[in-house]
């Protein structure tokens, strides 16, 4: 039976509020569909493993991000860099997600863990940025590129996010 189970391998490389969603949505859904799923977190993706998430979103360098009142059309890019803008955009995004019934990142992450999605932190990144492993959630593993390939090489779907 175990050999018939489909496998999903994801590399999560981004540490912003918006990009936190695809890995956790896909892995939790895959698990619900009967997949064995694994997410390898590297570089900025490691922010998604912190016990206390402080993920933010910004429109800077992202002209595709819709903003209220059509601000993405007329609000000067330079103003988007002003102090407080990132915090404001983050709280606006969170409020919108809540209003639309979109799960929080924490909630999706918990669902991944409950569904036995394996979460692996890139050891090299932890060392590179002097991250404290005690700041990460429990139940994760640490590994390197070879660890990723051990599972990814057998996977049916492999995504770089």
């Amino acid at each position: 039976m175990a050999d018939e189970q489909k496998k999903l391998a994801i590399i999560a490389t981004k540490g912003t509020l918006d990009w936190a969603y695809p890995p956790f949505i896909l892995a939790s859904t895959a698990a619900a569909l009967g997949y064995e799923a694994q997410i390898f977190f590297t570089f900025y993706g490691l922010q998604l493993l912190r016990k206390k998430l402080s993920l933010k979103v910004t429109s800077l360098g992202n002209p595709g991000m819709p903003m209220p009142m059509g601000m993405d059309k007329w609000f000067p890019v330079l103003f988007q860099a002003l102090p407080g803008m990132e915090a404001m955009m983050t709280s606006m995004m969170k409020a919108k997600m809540k209003a639309k019934g979109v799960a929080s990142v924490e909630e999706l992450r918990t669902m991944c863990q409950e569904a036995d999605v394996k979460l692996i932190a890139c050891q090299m990144t932890v060392d590179l940025f002097d991250m404290d492993p005690s700041e990460f959630i429990d139940g994760i593993e640490f590994g390197g590129a070879a660890t990723f390939f051990e599972f990814a090489g057998e996977s049916d779907i492999c995504l770089f996010i």
């Binding site: 949505i25 859904t29 619900a32 569909l33 009967g34 639309k100 019934g101 979109v102 799960a103 669902m111």
Partner: protein, 76 residues
Amino acid sequence: MANWDQELDASGLNCPLPILRAKKALAGLQSGQVLHVIATDPGSVKDFEAFAKQTGNELLESKEEGGKFHFLIKKA
């Protein structure tokens, strides 16, 4: 609508929560029992079809009523 053994109200929840909640609810049912899911996410119509196809649980009924989507899923 046919009989069901358990009801799950996923109204107001967005993708992928209705599917994840349904999966959890089905885990508590016996084989052959039926779960009634209520959702408001329009994407759930296609998603529950895909869920049934991939998990082997049978989608007995899928319909829209009173602005909500109703699904009957029989546990495999």
